[in-house]
């Protein structure tokens, strides 16, 4: 897929700025819908967890943490389940549309971490920890970014699969079995959530560090003055 590039001319001084169309509409729409859905899923999920904050037996019950109600959505178990069982459909739909679009449009090449990206990860990590020079950018995402985004997509799929195993441990008993049964599926669901939150944290830090033009690109699709030369 050829990348759309524009040269923006300032009529006053004739200065030229480049802009690249990085994020197609479907990707942007899914990104923001998914961001809202993920927020609700985590918030309501933590309220659900408050009803039985343990991964052990019910008798005797040993609580893992007492998660504060103020950092949860739904107010009580029934309310939280309403949010969770409503937004899971929005979460799944945005994920399926996103993955489907990426595959059919070929746009997946922009984000998918593939074996040849492996070599680029370490230099990028060194750079972020002030241990090395910035590797030259050739495309929209560097190897480490691709790794992060691909991991997030995998975590998204896992969050749905572990969720289905908890929600439907009988109809999808094979899925629950793969995770070690209902009991362990619940633990996996919890772990996947924290992994996803770790991604979101890193993602937000990077958004702040990379500035306004980068942030705007997820709204308008266009990134002004990219670090790389589009081909």
């Amino acid at each position: 897929m050829a990348t759309r590039v524009l040269e923006i001319e300032n009529p006053k001084d004739g200065e030229i700025t480049e802009a690249v169309y990085e994020h197609p509409f479907i990707v942007r729409a899914c990104h923001w819908v998914n961001a809202v859905a993920l927020f609700v899923m985590v918030g309501s999920g933590l309220q659900i967890f408050r009803a039985f904050p343990s991964f052990g037996a019910k008798i005797p019950q040993k609580d893992l943490i007492n998660w504060p109600k103020s950092l949860a959505i739904g107010g009580w178990l029934g309310g939280a389940l309403q949010w969770h069982l409503t937004f899971m459909w929005i979460y799944i739909a945005s994920g399926l549309i996103y993955i489907g679009y990426q595959l059919f449009s070929g746009n997946y090449k922009q984000v998918l971490f593939v074996p040849r990206d492996v070599a680029g990860v370490w230099p990028m990590v060194r750079h972020y920890f002030f241990l090395g020079p910035k590797p030259p950018a050739k495309e929209a995402y560097n190897s480490l970014q691709k790794h992060a985004y691909t991991s997030a997509i995998v975590l998204g799929v896992l969050s749905v699969l572990t969720g289905i195993a908890i929600w439907k441990p009988v109809q999808f008993s094979w899925l629950a079995w793969l995770m070690g049964g209902f009991h362990y599926a619940r633990l996996w669901h919890f772990i996947v959530m924290w992994a996803m939150l770790a991604f979101v944290f890193g993602h937000l830090v990077m958004v702040v560090l990379h500035g306004w033009n980068n942030f705007v690109s997820m709204l308008t699709g266009w990134k002004k003055d990219p670090e790389y030369r589009a081909e």
């Binding site: 923006i8 009803a51 019950q61 309403q82 459909w89 209902f182």
Partner: protein, 239 residues
């Protein structure tokens, strides 16, 4: 391949792309107090409808070896009011009504005359905990035959001695693992576990599995769904 554009036109192009995203703001409707409850109700209703499509009458819930069964004293007792509603076990009977040919009062002995099934199945609570229990009883489907129930009706409703009430979709009622349970762990039900008769439904979450049954009706219309459902829990909650 590059094309030139002036600053103003680029702003217009960008703005148009931004405006395309405005439908996402529709999600904000969930933050409007007046719309929130009906939207969540619709969402839960959709989820329940999808759940009922996923239900397969011939698909059995996993069963477990005796060694995997949770010890009886570690099987939680959950109630919404009292552990023991002081059912008079001597004079107990189950009142049957609604779309049935043989309405009336049925004794425990009449339920126990039906073939007895024993199963080690997982009991999943909406709170998130789970235990594996040993349950024995008659198939609800066999009992429905006995009373001449119209199984084309949509629902079964039950009333309980402690004031609890529940309803069950017919497809689940006819599932072979749905039992009118009178024994747990090889012993008659204790009072805390719902003596003398309770529902065991391994394809449903715990709150659907009512204890201390006193009344059972076959109906097409639900005036009330269930004690917890009427406070906002899922109506269907199939596992």
């Amino acid at each position: 391949m590059d094309s030139k554009i002036d600053k103003k036109r680029f702003k217009r192009v960008s703005r148009r792309e931004l405006i395309k995203l405005t439908p996402v703001i529709a999600l904000g409707a969930f933050a409007i107090p007046k719309l929130q409850a009906p939207l969540l109700k619709a969402g839960l209703g959709f989820s329940d409808w999808a759940s009922s499509l996923m239900f397969r009458g011939g698909h059995l819930a996993p069963t477990f070896a005796a060694s995997a069964v949770t010890p009886f004293e570690k099987f939680p007792i959950n109630d919404y009011d009292v552990d023991d509603p002081e059912v008079d076990l001597e004079h107990w009977s189950l009142s049957i009504g609604g779309a049935v040919q043989k309405a009336g009062n049925y004794s425990l002995a009449q339920v126990q005359m039906l073939p007895k099934y024993t199963q080690n199945t997982r009991h999943v609570c909406v709170e998130g905990w789970d235990v594996i229990g040993n349950f024995s009883g008659a198939r609800l489907s066999d009992f429905l035959k006995t009373i001449g129930a119209d199984v084309t009706s949509r629902f079964i409703t039950v009333e309980c001695a402690d004031g609890y009430y529940e309803s069950l979709d017919m497809a689940t009622a006819l599932h072979p693992q749905t039992l009118l349970c009178y024994e747990m762990y090889g012993q008659p039900l204790t009072r805390e576990h719902g003596a003398p008769l309770r529902l065991t439904i391994p394809t449903k979450v715990g709150y659907k599995q009512a204890k201390y049954l006193t009344e059972l009706k076959i109906t097409n219309v639900l005036e009330k769904v269930g004690y917890w459902e009427d406070q906002g829990y899922s109506h269907y909650y199939g596992l």
